[in-house]
Symmetry: C2
Subunit: 194 residues, 2 copies
DNA sequence: CACATTCTATACCAATCGGTCCATAATTGT
DNA sequence: ACAATTATGGACCGATTGGTATAGAATGTG
C-alpha cells in the first residue's frame, strides 16, 4: 500500500529517552533529538506529531522499562520492606551508572518556563498518584509490621517520596551510589525490621 | 563627573531575584528580567555585564538575605536541634509563601542544558561545602547528644541534605507547608531529644 | 556655558527555538 | 507497469534567545 518506515520505533524512542533524561524536556532541542534518533525533522514529526508528543511516548517507555520495580516494591509484605526495595530500586535507577543520572521525570518536571507548565502539572499528578498508592499500601501492611512509633502511613509515604526526590537530585549532581545507599539505610534505621 | 544612576541597585536586584527564583536561570529571559527590574537592556548590561553576572549578584543576595539562618542552625548545641532548626528554616523559606516556592539555587541548578553547566557546577560546590560544614558540626555536637544509633555524622549530614533537596522539590511542586513540616518531624523521630 | 562623561533608548545582530511545507523517493496493491 | 500512498530530505518560517552598537539625553566639573 505504501512505503514502510525505515526506522524501528522502539529504537528511536530509546534514543530519545536518553536525550530527555540527560537534558530535560526543554534542554533537549529538536536538533539533539534528531541527531540521537538518526531521523530528519519530517520523519520525527510524521511519526510523533510534536516534541511534546514524542516526550509523552518517551515517558510511557520510561514507566514501562524503568519504573516497573515499583510494583514489586509495593507487593512487599511490610512497610520497611516496601520502603527498602523502593529506595534500593530508585538508587539503582538514578545512580546505577547504566542510565543517565537522576530521574527523567524530575529532570523534566523542574523545568521552569511557563510554556512547559502543562507538562510539569501532568508529571506532578503522576507523582502524587504514586504517593497515594504508597500510603495505602503502608496502611495495609502496617498490621504485619508497624511503622516507626508516631508516624502515620501518610507521613511515611510523604517522607519516602521526599527522600526519593532528594536522592534523585543528588544523583543528578553526581553523588556516588554508596552515599545514596547510606542515606537510604540511615533513613530506615528506626523502621521495624519485621 | 557624570550622570548618576537612575535606579537603586539593591531594588532591581530584589526584582531579579524573584524572577530567577520563579523561573530558574534559563527560564528567566532578559525580557522577563527587564520588565521586573524596570530597566532597559542597555542599563542592565551596563550595570551587570551579562545575564550570568546578574545571576551571581542575585545568588549573593539570596545567600545574604535568605540563607543566613543556616548559621544560627549550625550554632545549636545538639545534632537534633541543628537538624530541626535547619529543616524548619528551609521549610519556612521554600514553602512559607512569602517568597516563590522552592529553592532558588536548586531551581537554577537543575537546568540541564550544556551552556549552563558551569553555573550548575558552582552551585553544586556551594551545596557540598555546606554539607561538610554540617557534618563537622554534627561531629562536634554528638558528644552533647548522640545521633541515632548506627548513624555516623557523615550519614546524618547526607541524610539531612537529601531531605532538604527533596523538600525543596516538593515545595516547588506546591506541596503544603503542613506536609513539609510533617516530613521533617517524621525524619527526626529517632533522633535523641537531648 | 562648554565639555567630558555616563547614562538610557532603540534598532539591530546572529543563532537557535519548535514547527511547516513541498518536492522527491520508495514501496505496495492492482 | 501504473497509480496510490507514504516516508524522506531539506528549505523555509516567525518568534525568541542573549548580546551589541549607536545615537542622544542628562549630569557634574572646569
Amino acid at each position: 500500500m505504501a512505503r514502510p518506515r525505515e526506522f524501528d520505533e522502539d529504537e528511536v524512542l530509546q534514543a530519545a529517552l536518553r536525550v530527555f533524561w540527560e537534558k530535560g524536556y526543554e534542554g533537549a532541542s529538536l536538533g539533539d533529538l534528531q541527531e540521537a534518533m538518526g531521523l530528519t525533522k519530517s520523519s520525527l514529526y510524521k511519526a510523533f506529531g510534536s516534541k511534546e508528543g514524542l516526550f509523552w511516548r518517551v515517558v510511557e517507555l520510561y514507566n514501562r522499562d524503568f519504573l516497573g520495580f515499583r510494583l514489586d516494591a509495593l507487593a512487599e509484605p511490610t512497610p520497611r520492606r516496601i520502603a527498602e526495595r523502593l529506595l534500593h530500586g530508585m538508587t539503582e535507577l538514578h545512580n546505577g551508572g547504566r542510565t543517565p543520572n537522576g530521574c527523567l521525570e524530575l529532570n523534566a518536571a523542574l523545568a521552569c518556563s511557563t510554556v512547559t507548565e502543562p507538562i510539569r502539572q501532568e508529571l506532578l499528578r503522576n507523582r502524587e498518584r504514586f504517593r497515594r498508592e504508597l500510603r495505602d499500601r503502608f496502611e495495609e501492611t502496617m498490621a504485619a509490621a508497624s511503622l516507626p512509633p508516631g508516624m502515620t502511613s501518610d507521613d511515611a509515604a510523604s517522607f519516602i517520596i521526599s527522600l526519593i526526590q532528594g536522592l534523585a537530585v543528588q544523583a543528578k549532581a553526581g553523588v556516588s551510589p554508596e552515599t545514596a545507599r547510606q542515606v537510604a539505610r540511615a533513613a530506615l534505621l528506626s523502621w521495624p525490621e519485621s
